[in-house]
């Protein structure tokens, strides 16, 4: 065959590929995951409540369970996940180079990370609303930032945290003494020994560190937040179909909580919806009616699989972060929209 012939063949092949892409909701990443038979999911591996390795060798945490939910949706089996611990510094590179399919790491959604001229990533819906908080000893009686005037505050140097604190205190016109530490390993013991009147970091992290203190109950978080840190699950921008699938898995978790579907009752609710044609909304959400699954390139009953694998958002939160865990986080902003929080799932229709 001549060179020209080869070229023509390649062009025709490429065109056919495009045509096929428009026709079915195919995503190269999902095709790769199905071919490989498992999802490669990046987790941090050392964030309490979000992802750690349990004594049995299994990854535990809300981020780890999200990986399982996605695997349940795409492959039908929550155990088909290869967890890939990556550090904060290399997470975006690992995603960009195709080492991992999905970042299930607390990554704050920011413009520069999202924009095509920046990191060019695709962010799902906000999965966890965090914010920079301030912790003080309960006995000190401090209840607001103003009361910290003239007092030393522990911060990790070179972080956003340090800048946010400086910004807010300048706005409030409060003079304070920043006590800078190279790392959290130095800052928290210093705070616990009483070298500073307060310490600031992400609220979830403060709560986690507090649970390791000798007297956790002796420390409280101030109600004020210094910054907003909405974190989301991240995929590459070059595969919108995959980003959509991940986005709607997140929505599924939230919608399931709103509809009162739990890991325990989802089977019964599905059976009820099958029997009763009048439960239109439940029938659509659970894939009895319509073809939402197919439109996303997922199985028709992906919502059922997700909830059966990990439960709804509220269950996830309570299991890994809530008051029954050593972390004891308040749900706060992470409540549902109809309960005073910020989590809302767009309609499944």
């Amino acid at each position: 065959m001549t060179k020209g012939g080869l070229l023509a063949l390649a062009v025709v092949g490429a065109l056919m590929g495009c045509a096929a892409g428009n026709d079915a909701p195919g995503s190269p990443t999902m095709a790769k995951i199905r071919e490989r038979g498992r999802l490669v999911c990046a987790v941090d591996g050392a964030v309490p409540g979000f992802s750690t390795v349990g004594p049995g060798g299994a990854f535990v945490g809300i981020d780890a369970d999200f990986c399982r939910a996605v695997a349940a949706a795409v492959l039908g089996d929550p155990s088909k996940v290869e967890f890939r611990p990556v550090t904060a510094g290399e997470r975006f590179v690992a995603l960009g180079s195709g080492e991992v399919d999905l970042l299930s790491i607390s990554s704050t959604h920011t413009l520069s990370r999202d924009a095509p001229g920046g990191n060019a990533l695709s962010f799902g819906p906000v999965f966890f609303y965090d914010g920079q908080g301030v912790m003080v000893p309960a006995a000190s009686g401090v209840r607001s930032l103003q009361e910290l005037a003239g007092k030393p505050i522990c911060v990790e140097s070179g972080t956003n945290t340090e800048l946010n604190l400086a910004d807010r205190m300048r706005e409030l016109g409060v003079a304070y003494q920043p006590l800078r530490f190279q790392s959290g390993e130095q800052a928290y013991p210093a705070y616990e020994q009483g070298r500073c009147a307060a310490i600031t970091s992400d609220s979830s992290l403060l709560a986690a560190k507090r649970s390791g203190f000798k007297q956790p109950a002796a420390h409280v978080l101030l109600p004020e937040l210094l910054s907003k840190e909405p974190s989301a699950k991240v995929t590459i921008q070059a595969d919108p179909a995959w980003a959509d699938a991940v986005r709607w898995v997140t929505h599924t978790l939230v919608q399931a909580e709103e509809s009162g579907l739990t890991k325990a009752n989802v089977e019964a609710r599905l059976a009820a919806a099958r029997r009763d044609p009048s439960q239109a909304e439940a029938r659509r959400f659970l894939g009895v009616e319509g073809d939402f699954g197919r439109q996303l390139g997922l199985p028709a009953d992906f919502t059922v699989r997700v909830v059966k694998a990990v439960g709804n958002y509220g269950e996830l939160f309570e299991r890994h972060l809530g008051s029954a865990t050593p972390l004891g986080l308040e749900r706060g902003l992470n409540r549902l929209w109809n309960d005073g929080g910020l989590h809302i799932a767009p309609p499944f229709r």
């Binding site: 750690t52 611990p85 550090t87 050593p326």
Partner: protein, 403 residues
């Protein structure tokens, strides 16, 4: 007893100033020791180590495949026992060989104490405790058999026996990673001490030949070879290891089409190897520089070809000189493996980080780091001790010892 007291007095209380210094130091040391013991026995909560002992040992290695690691441990123990016995059965001609001298008994008693105390302190199940006892018996048995009958082994037999180790390394690789009919265990599930030892032993074994070649290359008279070696060594020594590790982890994925890049545990192990090779090359070069030129010239004038002269005359002397520096390099390589935790691998330090982040064990940093320190000290001390034994065995000027 009197002699001991007299010696203590001469060493610690020779002059009043010496005495004051000794008293102060002894008080300081016992204060530290007392504080440490009080922490370790009353304040520390060792549950974090007990519960996670498997994680620290082998990481996320699937539990139903762990019999392979037990088998490998048994093979290693048997080979160690046999080697121990053979070394005793064939002492250097200028030494007297006694089969069960004091040192051996001491070692066995120590091992027995560890095998008795450690598994029960860790709260391991009886089945696993018995396995450790079985391993100890196996060690003693192989040591005794090889010591008893090893003397009859011909020199060819001894050479073949040495081949057991490289063979065992290959067998171990297959046992750990799978293949040849065994279920594959992906490297991403290796962790803890297993990954630390695997990565460091892989790098140590491979960096040695590469380092020797680089050292010879750097001293070569062929310009291309010389400048190539110089360029490589200076490039590697000019970049921090962590930079190279990041390069290997993240840039290879961009350069190679998806799926072609090796599994990232191997990438990290190769980066460690190439990094250590450059430093090892310089250690070997210092050894080569210490061998007088006359040695090579004499060997050549006797009609030996250049490679033969290197192999039989120059390298043995050079490597013996370079041995302490090389072992230092190996020990620091073993410790450098902790950097793998920064690229997301769950070797010992990575495992420690994730264990300390477990909500059930928050704030238990002291216990975890102390365990890590003991494990690393054990590995490094073993390397150091064996290198000293090797040095003594290779020392051509050794005085025949009395024991």
């Amino acid at each position: 007893m009197n002699a001991l007291l007299r010696r203590l007095r001469a060493e610690l209380f020779a002059t009043p100033a010496d005495g004051a210094l000794s008293v102060a130091l002894i008080m300081l040391l016992s204060l530290g020791a007392f504080g440490f013991l009080r922490w370790a026995l009353t304040q520390a909560q060792w549950a974090v180590v007990k519960v996670n002992s498997t994680l620290f040992a082998v990481g996320r290695y699937p539990i139903e495949q762990q019999w392979r690691l037990w088998l490998l441990t048994a093979l290693l123990v048997a080979a160690s026992g046999a080697t121990w016995g053979l070394l005793r059965a064939h002492p250097r001609p200028d030494r007297t060989g006694v089969l069960w001298p004091r040192n051996d008994r001491l070692a066995l008693v120590l091992l027995a104490l560890i095998a008795l105390a450690l598994p029960s302190a860790l709260g391991l199940t009886l089945a696993i405790q018995t396995r450790w006892w079985g391993l100890l018996l196996l060690l003693a048995l192989c040591r005794w058999l090889a010591g008893r009958f090893g003397a009859n082994l011909s020199s060819t037999g001894r050479r073949l026996a040495a081949l057991v180790w490289p063979l065992l390394y290959l067998v171990g690789m297959v046992l750990i990673s799978g293949g040849l009919g065994l279920v594959t265990v992906s490297p991403s599930e290796w962790g803890g001490l297993l990954l630390t030892l695997l990565a460091s032993s892989f790098a140590i074994l491979l960096c040695f030949p590469i380092g020797v070649l680089l050292a010879l290359g750097r001293r070569s008279e062929l310009p291309l070879l010389r400048w190539g070696s110089v360029l490589y060594i200076e490039f590697i020594r000019g970049a921090p290891l962590i930079t190279l590790l990041f390069l290997g982890q993240n840039i290879l994925g961009f350069l190679l089409p998806g799926g072609l890049a090796p599994e990232r545990v191997w990438r990290a192990a190769w980066v460690l190897t190439f990094f250590a090779a450059a430093y090892l090359a310089e250690a070997v070069r210092s050894g080569l520089a210490a061998v007088p030129r006359g040695q090579l010239e004499a060997a050549r004038s006797l009609g030996l070809s250049y490679p033969k002269a290197l192999q039989h005359v120059v390298l043995p002397q050079a490597l013996r000189v370079a041995l302490p520096a090389m072992v230092g390099q190996f020990i620091s390589l073993l410790q450098d493996t902790t950097l793998l935790s920064l690229i997301g691998l769950l070797e010992l330090l990575g495992t420690a980080r994730t264990v300390m982040a477990n909500p059930a064990f928050l704030g238990r940093n002291g216990e975890v780091y102390l365990t890590l320190a003991v494990l690393f000290w054990g590995c490094c001390a073993a390397l150091g001790l064996s290198s000293r034994a090797l040095e003594r065995r290779l020392d051509p000027h050794a005085v025949p010892s009395a024991t």
